[in-house]
Symmetry: C2
DNA sequence: GTGTAATCATGCAGTAGATGCAAATTTTTA
DNA sequence: TAAAAATTTGCATCTACTGCATGATTACAC
């Protein structure tokens, strides 16, 4: 289910202005990932990225608040959507199950956005992998994830009617969940297209809910989740 | 042996030079936390911090690679120590148990370092809380944690003889574990001295190993871990 | 169509983080 | 006490990022 109104999706380019903006945004993102994959984050300036996307350096900052955001930043309203969905979806069911569903779908959407940039999937994973290999870039991605984590924590707190000041559950679970996502993303990026990201995250959350098993189980998951060389 | 040669500890400052360096490092850290608690990270410059610690701005960067590192950066070799301990301690026992022991001890040491800066414990938590409240600072702390996470992942991989490229377990568990630590730190900082950090982390890891329980359990943990003084 | 309002791109100036280099200063060692 | 080693500091430089003013482009009402 590519469900109800994911505002994130590869959707309707309303006006001409909106289409142009989206195009520029993608151009910048693509240029950033390409250049970083070539030279490493430290040897790529905003000026370089802007030049590669044929806009002025100043314009770059109209689209992204920082160099790192161009690499890892998701859709502008991604965090808000996550918070709402986590807070309200499937009321009554265990929080961790909702987390699993919502976050794995979100990750799938994110991977989809990468493909929307055009080009070969494996190419993109190579770029993402290169970006993650750089320690500075790793830090940047973690920083990006903080906003997501905050949103998840808020959504959980609302869902459970918990006061984050008195109850560590929302904050700790959110941090652990986002950690799992990050771990899965890293593994996916390193797998050069042989792993289904959404499925991996799904399984990892199952493992998290069951108590992280000793070693064997997740390796099995990796095997399960590896594509058998056909599907798109 | 709580600290057989933890180079981190509040220990014997060999030479005069070493003592001075340590003193300056603490002065800078203290100044940074104080100023950020007062004005917020955005309104504190490196120049301010250096001035408050009576050193030149240039010297600041001899001690910390960034403004944020002065706030959240641990001992220089913290990551390496963690990796070694996780890789080799208590061989044969489940990885997650070793993680629990090592990381909760590490967190205790970190809290101890704060107290070594002098002053009232609650004061320090107020400072840490202020630092974490700032979104920019939250990002910075997450970025700091990446190095720890990397070290934990490497330690786990070595301990389990796992290939991180083929086996997601070390990476995912490390990310989840560090996430739990971050969640606990946030809760601790917000608790204004009523919670025992090491104990909280210890319990949170137990919960993680048992499969993150639905809501109730961690709230109970919070109660258990609260130093008696209030009720609910 | 045309004119007007909203929106976007761009240039310029300025603040601040960060690094390399070399001179000045301090601590160690012999 | 003098040479050696390590530290502090100032200076120049680069880059990230922001505010503000201005010109270009798109949207909209008539």
């Amino acid at each position: 289910m590519t469900s109800a109104g994911t505002p994130t999706g590869t959707a309707l380019p309303a006006s001409l202005r909106e289409r142009k903006k989206l195009a520029t945004r993608r151009l910048l993102r693509r240029a950033a990932l390409d250049l970083v994959a070539e030279r490493g984050l430290a040897n790529v300036t905003v000026e370089d990225i802007a030049a590669a996307a044929d806009v002025s350096p100043r314009t770059f900052f109209n689209y992204f608040p920082s160099k790192e955001a161009a690499l890892f930043g998701g859709a502008p309203d991604r965090a808000a959507v996550l918070r709402e969905r986590i807070a309200r979806e499937a009321p009554g069911e265990p929080a961790i199950g909702v987390l699993r569903a919502v976050m794995s779908e979100d990750a799938r959407a994110m991977a989809g956005e990468l493909l929307a940039l055009g080009g070969d999937p494996a190419d993109w994973q190579r770029r993402v992998k290169a970006a993650r290999a750089d320690p500075h870039a790793r830090e940047a991605q973690a920083a990006q994830m903080v906003m997501i984590e905050q949103a998840v924590a808020e959504g959980l707190a609302e869902r459970l009617h918990a006061d984050p000041e008195r109850d560590p559950y929302p904050g700790v679970l959110a941090a652990a969940a986002v950690g799992v996502i990050r771990g899965c993303l890293a593994f996916w990026a390193g797998s050069s297209g042989t792993v289904d990201l959404g499925q991996l995250i799904d399984r990892a959350f199952q493992a998290l809910a069951a108590g992280l098993p000793e070693h064997g189980a997740l390796r099995q998951i990796a095997a399960d989740v590896t594509k058998r060389k056909d599907s798109q």
